[in-house]
């Protein structure tokens, strides 16, 4: 009913290969974007922006990055917050040391630096596979935590090892209110989502997926594993680097290495697994879920008037969070994106499911 694509014929390859081949999908997407740009800025409160929407946008970017690596290329990384840290500290140093750079240039450079580091830490993937590699990526996490805590140059000799940044200015636009930050983040996210979506549809994405499905077979049909794996690490770290720079400059303002610790890495992994591995949409859904859930769980007891002590509320939050993760994995191991696809399929057949 809602998805009746009868009569939409594709007569060119171009039309057949476009991003959203169904008319309704295109309108829906345009509607969502219009809503995000035109309605949300006027409806949402500062609290929503600062605590939920802006973190959601930035973490979605990071989750897309991780998804490119884990979901598309099949290389598990438990240490991806490290590349966010590289991006954040690279951006900090660029802004401090080369103040004339435009922030957009800083973002790209920070991403590139993170990409280089990511490719370096991706080298073991050429020899180590599966869960062994996953644990090995923790080396990146702990080494990064350590280097930014210890090498004073990276933090501009700040006496407590914590760095702080000035509000970001783009041309004449100072991003100091939550709403400005939101609009900028939204723009960045849309651009990067488009790039990611197209990357995964192109030859690079196909090389990744072939490697994911069976690396030996991929090698046999002429995909060089060095190329596929290292580009995946590079692109993925690039995304996380940009996200890290945004997280530092637009979300935290001042931070310490602990801001990019293992917990953040776990959160990113949760996002792509709850959201759906190998799905850009899944990165969005997963990020929304993981950002909102703890905050909501923390506030629900008080809102519905259950008199829980703070400690008990926090413990219950942990318990429910853990249980929900398990429950979601049991109910739908392929993530929220799969649910979305099933739902869409049902709507397409509705009201005649058979």
């Amino acid at each position: 009913m809602f998805f009746r694509e009868n009569g939409q014929f594709k007569s060119t390859y171009r039309a057949d290969m476009q991003l959203l081949p169904i008319v309704q999908d295109r309108w829906f997407m345009l509607g969502v974007i219009a809503l995000a740009f035109l309605a949300v800025p006027f409806v949402a409160t500062d609290y929503l922006f600062l605590s939920i929407i802006n973190p959601f946008l930035i973490l979605t970017l990071a989750a897309i990055g991780l998804n490119l690596l884990v979901g598309y290329c099949g290389q598990i990384s438990i240490g991806h917050a490290a590349f966010m840290a590289w991006g954040a500290y690279a951006a900090y140093n660029l802004v401090q040391r080369v103040p004339m750079l435009n922030f957009l240039v800083v973002l790209v450079l920070a991403g590139l630096i993170a990409a280089l580091v990511g490719m370096f830490f991706g080298i073991p993937s050429l020899r180590i596979k599966g869960l062994y590699l996953a644990v090995a990526t923790l080396a990146a996490q702990f080494f990064t935590d350590w280097i930014f805590a210890r090498v004073k140059w990276f933090t501009n000799y700040a006496h407590s090892g914590s760095v702080s940044t000035a509000p970001v200015t783009l041309f004449d636009w100072t991003l100091d209110t939550p709403r400005d930050k939101y609009l900028f983040l939204l723009g960045v996210l849309i651009v990067f989502t488009l790039i990611a979506k197209n990357l995964t549809r192109g030859h690079l994405g196909r090389a990744w997926m072939a490697t994911r499905d069976m690396d030996v077979a991929a090698e046999v049909i002429g995909i060089r594993p060095v190329y596929a794996k290292l580009t995946a690490f590079g692109v993925s770290s690039f995304y996380c680097g940009v996200a890290g720079a945004l997280w530092g400059f637009l979300q935290l303002g001042s931070w310490e290495p602990l801001a990019f610790d293992l917990n953040l890495s776990f959160s990113l992994l949760f996002m792509i697994i709850i959201g759906g591995m190998g799905s850009i949409l899944g990165s969005y859904l997963g990020a929304a879920f993981i950002v909102v859930l703890p905050i909501a769980l923390n506030q629900i007891p008080r809102k519905i008037g259950v008199p829980l002590s703070t400690a008990m509320a926090a413990n219950v939050e942990f318990m429910i969070f853990g249980s929900l993760i398990v429950l979601f994995l049991v109910l739908e191991p392929h993530g929220l994106a799969r649910l979305w696809a099933i739902g869409k399929e049902k709507l397409r057949l509705w009201p005649f499911p058979h």
């Binding site: 090498v151 004073k152 690396d215 697994i273 994995l329 049991v330």
Partner: protein
Amino acid sequence: MSIPRYAPVAILGVLLAAGLVAPLATGETAPGFWVEVLIGGLMTGVLYSLVALGFVLIFKASGVFNFAQGAMVLFAALAVARLAERMPVWAAVLATVAIMVMLAFIVERIVLRPLVNQEGVVLLMATLGITFFLNGFGQAVWGSDIYEINLGIPREPMMVLGKVFEGGVLVNRDDIAAALAAVLLVGALAVFFRRTATGRALRAVADDHQAAQSIGIPLNRIWVIVWSVAGIVAIVGGVIWGGKLGVQFSISQVALKALPVVILGGFESVPGAIVGGLIIGVGEKMAEVFLAPPLIKAFDLAGGGIENWFAYVLALLFLLVRPEGLFGERRIDRV
């Protein structure tokens, strides 16, 4: 190809051995102190081994990478500590064994069974979910203060081998007790695996799930048993660790320390967990004490603290030589 297969292993071994004795060679370190660091590293390694052992048992039998092992150690230690306030320690330990077996039942029923045959990373995330749950549940039931497990071992260190080394060597009694407990545990596990019917069934499952099932070994029951055994290993680890440092939330972090151990030793190897634990323990303490100071001087660092990543780098070095870990089973990829 004239390079023999064992050459990389040999080179790595020589390199590590050289690194190990290098501090002695410079002449700046007293041999007695070097021995102390070595013992300290071995003792830490024993604790890592105990946690890693839990990982390995579960991975062997069910293919689950059990991140929750650290949370299980915390939960067990909390249970023993709090129950021991009301009853003798041995009764508290027995009661905790019952609790851990119950936990194994629940985990098998609610988490493992529905997730059979899922991808490794999904299972890993599920155990992270269990970690969250156990951390919250443990603190909700037992509280989040620091609790004591008093094993009645004097804390003051003793000096030994005063005749061999100048100034003697400092040894702690609780470390010795820990090492003994670990040896006993490993011995008991070995007997369990070799001599009992259940143990043989476990080994069969570890070798080949399908074959084991086809000759009538009930997989589900094996999983419960394995998680129970891992729970008991967690109790031993928790009591030793908690007796030494007090029982507190932070214990659940030891899981992270056991990870380099399991990749170094191989996910499926019990001897690997033990040897790996000792290598990592000695390696990181040696690195922290002898390698960090020159590094700080050379690069003007703000303090050392390299042991956290050094363990992983060490494990990575081993993995580059042997991608399945030291004792892991060699994998052959076929198209």
